[in-house]
């Protein structure tokens, strides 16, 4: 099994990479960790003219702090983010979600940016970016733009990036110390994509929800923000929240589907249950603290 022939290029700077994308006029495909793209190449479901390998661009790697956010370079390996102590302290739910991405061996190559860019609807990283309110910065020879993760996804594997644009960073805004984290997924085996999953964070001030960011994965054509649930939670006292009612609102925002793994009804039922349970448990832990 061999990929169709392509020209390979591995520039060392963002400028060079953007130039390659611009010159290729849509004929180039970006290779990050390759844990999805390489199978597609091997199966010849992807046949680019030019394979643009961004693994040699040091400026796209690493985790750093910037004004009010943690900035993750798109070529940061999933295993590196998983072992990053600052990330574990500041955005524990991101690390928790990462531990469910693929397997140890694929996380050693797979990148944060690759997963975010691909936009598999049942994957953890796109939904986490949506939930936490991440901002994706894209660069091209025409300039830069910043795209909220909530406006990034158009459909399965489809996003708003133009063919000449490259993701150069993903910024996850700060959540206050001690914020409540929400994560649960139901999958057939460890490392599989989720049948149903939810991820989120709640900031609590003076016993009330001051900020809420929650998203579903595996519940539609894209990661889906549970907007109604977020709005219902805002301003509520953590003692007065009814997790069941919030879960109802959250499921109302989804559009799941039938497949050979599970039916849409199953996904809604399980989604409602895991949402309510996860929210209830997290709030109980918070109340006890």
């Amino acid at each position: 099994m061999k990929p169709a022939p392509f020209d390979y290029v591995a520039p060392t700077t963002i400028q060079q990479a953007c130039q390659v994308l611009s010159d290729a006029g849509g004929g180039a495909t970006v290779l990050a960790g390759g844990q999805t793209l390489m199978p597609l190449l091997n199966l010849r479901m992807s046949q680019p003219f030019i394979l643009l390998d961004i693994n040699k661009i040091e400026a796209l790697k690493g985790i750093s702090r910037c004004q009010g956010a943690i900035r993750i370079g798109p070529v940061t390996r999933q295993c590196e983010a998983l072992a990053n102590s600052e990330l574990a302290r500041e955005l524990p739910v991101l690390v928790q979600a990462l531990s469910h991405v693929g397997h140890h061996q694929t996380r050693n190559r797979g990148t944060i940016g690759g997963s975010v860019a691909l936009g598999e609807p049942a994957a953890e990283m796109p939904a986490t970016a949506v939930a936490l309110g991440a901002v994706i910065e894209a660069r091209s020879v025409r300039g830069s733009r910043r795209i909220p993760a909530r406006e990034f996804y158009l459909g399965p594997y489809m996003n708003v990036l133009e063919p000449d644009e490259l993701i150069i960073s993903i910024e996850y805004p700060d959540w206050p110390q001690g914020h409540v984290t929400l994560f649960r997924e139901v999958a057939q085996r460890p490392g599989d994509f989720a049948l149903v999953g939810m991820v989120g964070a709640l900031a609590v001030e003076g016993g009330k929800i001051a900020r809420a960011g929650i998203a579903w994965f595996g519940m539609g054509a894209t990661p889906i923000a549970a907007v109604q649930a977020e709005q219902a939670l805002l301003g509520q006292s953590i003692d007065g929240i009814d997790p069941q009612a919030i879960a109802e609102l959250a499921v109302a925002d989804t559009a799941p589907f039938d497949d050979h793994h599970a039916s849409a009804d199953y996904r809604r039922t399980v989604g409602r249950r895991i949402f309510a349970r996860t929210l209830g448990e997290a709030l109980n832990i918070r109340k006890a603290a």
Binding site: D7, G34, H103, H104
Partner: protein, 162 residues
């Protein structure tokens, strides 16, 4: 590699020995290791990242050699199952544990499993039994050898703790 090309000269270190060849850009690391370098202990199973048989160690990390291009491994230290034992044939503790616990039958999946376990146990950080077991989710064994593999991991973890 700053201009798009379809053929490259690649050089890397495999099991401690330098290897250079002219190859097509589309050649996977797994194919390169088998066809050009002759390390046929690299077993290519599904060739799309599911089975784990082709796992090798690149710069200390266990990776799928079918999901990496050979051209991406230029300058890297690559270890295949042939490079795990000592030069005199003395087994690595992972190999010993797998032999003692009968953790293989047909042996097709074994090189990948050995590479994953070696990368984890030889790494700088201590690895727990739970972590070793979790990493096995990335390997498929069709001989129902999982119980033997689990015992080998328990033995490894106990040995590391002792």
């Amino acid at each position: 590699m700053s201009e798009p090309q379809s053929e490259f000269r690649v050089e890397m270190t495999i099991n401690g020995r330098p290897k250079a060849a002219n190859i097509e850009a589309r050649k996977s690391l797994g194919d390169f290791l088998r066809d050009d370098a002759g390390y046929t202990g690299v077993h290519l199973g599904c060739e799309h990242g599911v089975c784990g048989a082709c796992t090798v160690i690149v710069d200390g990390k266990a990776v799928r050699s079918c999901l990496m291009l050979a051209v991406q491994a230029v300058g890297c230290q690559v270890t295949t199952v042939e490079g795990i034992a000592e030069a005199d044939g003395t087994f690595h503790p992972v190999q010993t544990a797998m032999r003692e616990e009968h953790a293989l039958q047909c042996g097709f999946c074994t090189p990948g499993i050995v590479c994953t376990l070696v990368a984890l146990t030889d790494g700088e950080q201590e690895t727990t039994e739970e972590q070793l077991l979790a990493a096995m989710s990335g390997h498929i064994c069709r001989c129902t050898g999982y119980q033997g593999i689990r015992r080998a991991i328990s033995r490894l973890a106990a040995g590391a703790a002792a």
